[in-house]
């Protein structure tokens, strides 16, 4: 094959002088060429995108003016270009610029571009906008810290109770109570670990459900309610469960238990003391079972009602941001949806916000009702997915 038939040469023939420029413009990485006085000679399309400025506002201007609005160059320590000008060698650094109130974190690489007599004529600056990457690293750090804290709390208590049992002579009945507390706290620690394991399975795309016909009350709710019994009692709360005891649902009982555990943990944690938690069920005659967990407490603002189900989002300072994300994913696997709506409580009843008039709302206690659905015929999901 002759040289003229090489693809690059063909492209050069088509694009002519624009060959190099078009290639640089097509790259998803910002490239800018500067002279030794920091004047911008040329910038590719991505650089203009990163700076959020048109070409005419960039070429001929000083780079520090464009990036930071400064009237003099940055320090050698802070600026990769200055280091390259000084050392005539490659250099790299991190640049943080602000656009429309948001910080952009840019990784910067600068390279010397010698002129005909070997003298440094230009510096090429290559810029990667890694804002999203840095945000993810920060979120990952945050999640790790939360996971450690969530595990440390039950472990610290278990250790504390164990040291008491080992070092202090206690009457047998007191010892029995403490042993039971250790068992209960261990179970809670295990549930926390379980949540993180499910979360990692979801992230890896490995979560599979095994739907079977179960008696929801006997096979799921009884266990869940028993598990949360101590904590509800300690807050003076009680469960009101409307789920029919003979209700049969096709679902993965283990994962529906995780759904209820997460929702009830939140209801107990953020619900008001000495109030009820309502566990409801509804059948609207359509393709879905409707389940709900409602509690009295500070209502979730309207603007947060959707975002709380998104990954890493928590509107509470003591939340990891994965609990409701796990819940949402598990419900999706069951062909259902989850949402939260405001609700009102009166004489042991939980009423939807839509059904209560303003006059009555003012006299009633407010709360949050988490409603989720599960397909009645779960086989339908297997077909549609």
């Amino acid at each position: 094959m002759g040289q003229n038939n090489q693809p690059a040469n063909k492209l050069e023939q088509i694009l002519g002088e624009r060959f190099g420029i078009e290639i640089l413009n097509a790259m998803g990485i910002a490239i800018v060429v500067l002279d030794p006085n920091f004047n911008i000679i040329w910038a590719n399309r991505e650089y203009r995108k990163v700076q959020e400025k048109p070409e005419e506002d960039i070429v001929g201007k000083k780079c520090y003016e464009i990036s930071f609005g400064h009237n003099r160059p940055c320090t050698v320590e802070a600026c990769a270009v200055r280091r390259t000008l000084k050392t005539k060698k490659d250099s790299k650094g991190l640049k943080v610029i602000k656009r429309r109130g948001e910080e952009k974190q840019l990784d910067v690489y600068s390279f010397p571009l010698p002129g005909p007599r070997g003298k440094l004529s230009y510096v090429v600056e290559v810029i990667e906008d890694n804002t999203q990457l840095y945000k993810l690293v920060e979120l990952c750090d945050r999640l790790t810290a939360f996971a450690s804290h969530e595990l440390k709390t039950p472990l610290a208590t278990i250790y504390q109770l164990t040291t008491v049992l080992r070092q202090i002579d206690l009457p047998p009945e007191k010892r029995k109570v403490l042993f039971e507390r250790i068992i209960s706290r261990s179970q809670h620690g295990l549930k926390t670990v379980e949540n993180f394991l499910i979360y990692s399975k979801i992230k890896a795309g490995e979560l599979q459900i095994t739907p079977k016909k179960v008696n929801l009350y006997r096979d799921v709710l009884e266990r869940v309610l028993d598990f949360h019994k101590d904590y509800t009692l300690k807050k003076g709360m009680r469960f009101i469960c409307d789920v029919p005891k003979d209700l049969e649902v096709i679902c993965d009982a283990d994962y529906v238990e995780v759904i209820y555990n997460n929702l009830l943990t939140n209801a107990i944690k953020y619900g008001e003391e000495d109030t009820e938690i309502f566990i409801g069920y509804g059948d609207k005659g359509d393709r879905y079972h409707y389940f709900s967990v409602a509690s009295i407490g500070e209502p979730i603002p309207e603007e947060d009602r959707e975002v709380i189900f998104k990954r890493y989002v928590t509107t509470r300072k003591d939340g990891s941001g994965i609990g409701l994300d796990v819940v949402r994913e598990l419900i999706t696997k069951h062909g259902g949806k989850i949402w939260v709506e405001p609700c009102y409580f009166l004489s042991g009843k939980c009423l939807s916000g839509e059904t209560v008039s303003q006059e009555y709302k003012d006299k009633m206690k407010e709360g949050n009702n988490f409603v989720f659905t599960i397909l009645k015929k779960l086989k339908e999901i297997q077909v549609s997915h």
């Binding site: 939360f146 709390t153 504390q160 109770l161 040291t163 008491v164 507390r181 300072k317």
Partner: protein, 136 residues
């Protein structure tokens, strides 16, 4: 009979409160408890404790807020506060920056869990220091 030294434990974990209570009662301290920041403040006013053991991550009002509030109030500023927390200074500061322990006006701080004897030694030391301060 000399009245017992009263210690207020403020922590939202009832199991931990129970464990601390058992430890402290071995030295005949009288232990009262509160499970959130607001209840903690109420108990400080009602019970007038000789010492407070305080957790940081609390419902209703955080421990660091309560700690600053008490130390800033001349009526309670002399009550020694021992901060006992699961928030590890170096590990969790990104998540709980407001709980930077070293910037708190507490008299002592220690991480959960604590060895029973260590707790008793710290309590004894703080009470002795507080007594000396009151006698001056």
């Amino acid at each position: 009979m000399k009245p017992a030294t009263k210690i207020l434990v403020i922590d939202d974990d009832p199991d931990l409160v129970e464990a601390l209570k058992i430890i402290l009662e071995t030295e005949s301290y009288q232990v009262v408890s509160a499970f959130d920041g607001k209840e903690g403040l109420k108990k400080v006013k009602e019970e007038n404790p000789h010492l407070i053991i305080l957790d940081l991550l609390l419902p209703k009002e955080d421990g660091d807020v309560l700690c600053r509030e008490l130390k800033g109030d001349p009526r309670y500023a002399d009550i020694p506060i021992l901060v006992l927390t699961a928030v590890a200074e170096k590990v969790d500061i990104k998540v709980f920056p407001e709980h930077k322990i070293s910037s708190l006006p507490a008299d002592d701080y220690v991480h959960k869990p604590i060895q029973p004897q260590d707790l008793l030694d710290r309590v004894k030391k703080l009470l002795a220091r507080s007594k000396e301060g009151n006698e001056l």
